[in-house]
Amino acid sequence: MYILSIVSIWIIPLLIGFILIYSVMKKTPAYESFVDGGKEGIKIAVSIIPFLVGMLVAITVFRASGALDFFVHLLRPVLDFLGVPSEIVPLALIRPISGNAALGIMSDILKVHGPDTFIGKLASTIQGSTDTTLYVLTVYFGAVGIKKMGDALKVGLLADLVGISAAIIIITWMFG
């Protein structure tokens, strides 16, 4: 647990330092590369605006109308038994389906509960530790024309389940 928090603080600065030193050793124009790559970042940020607007509006409507409370109430006995906070359910369900939609739900959770709460940390970890199975499957197989995907979807979704469970267990263990 202690080691994990040390890693959390040190890994990024160390990595940046290492990348810069390596670039100096190789005598590559680091600043030009940085600016080039950075332009890509602006493109990405702008291109996810429609996804976030769409999803956040839908989620807010769902929440403000009282619909979310109603469904969470139905699920509560099962979740309480498992020790899972019910607020995390929408994120866990959408994460394998759409990365951008999950991003919208995660930021909504951080806004409502705060990023440093148990639920906030849990949502951040779930978002960071699995990828969008359906997207990867559609894009990769679609692009090269694979029609029979075999066990790929099953394997991907089961791995998602493990990843989300692992996130819940780890966060409960570290911060619960």
Binding site: L4, S23, T28, P115, Y140, V144, D160
Partner: protein, 197 residues
Amino acid sequence: MVNYIWIGMTLIGLVFAAINGKMKDVNEAIFQSANEAVTLCIGLISILVFWLGIMRIAQDSGLLDKFSRLFRPIIKRLFPEVPENHPAMGYILSNIIANMFGLGNAATPLGIKAMEQLKELNGGRPVASRSMITFLALNTSGLTLIPTTVIAIRMNYHSASPTEIVGPTLLATTIATIAAILIDRYYYYKRTRNGVK
């Protein structure tokens, strides 16, 4: 699928609002949340520009390539069907490395290239081969070293420690990846036992 979820959430929400008499709240919420979404994306620009800039330095200086070579022995074991010097190997490796550093957009074209090569190795048939399923399993379990976007959003909501979740994320992603490989292997042996390849 996302389409149905999105429409479903909105329509169910509208129906509930009508029943609960919360139409006024919903009305306000729509415009406020749209506004918040845009603000959020603008806030993401800073960290995305910074991180993708740093990663481009790593790419241009050859560090990413070097890193790929480090992982070659492991990848060789995961994809026993792929010949060692086949181009597929290079694409698979660079895709995985790009994913680890949170370069989603850079990872996608590399992943598609890898798939193309794997399809060729499989005789060009439109059927997923063993290696393709393994490759997808690795991708969907989302190996991440730095969850850039998550950190950015945490900063946006004034987290006291935005990077606090890097350690737990690393641990969870490692477990998910190991599980993905094991599940993939399990289904592979199940397939071969049944005589389907």
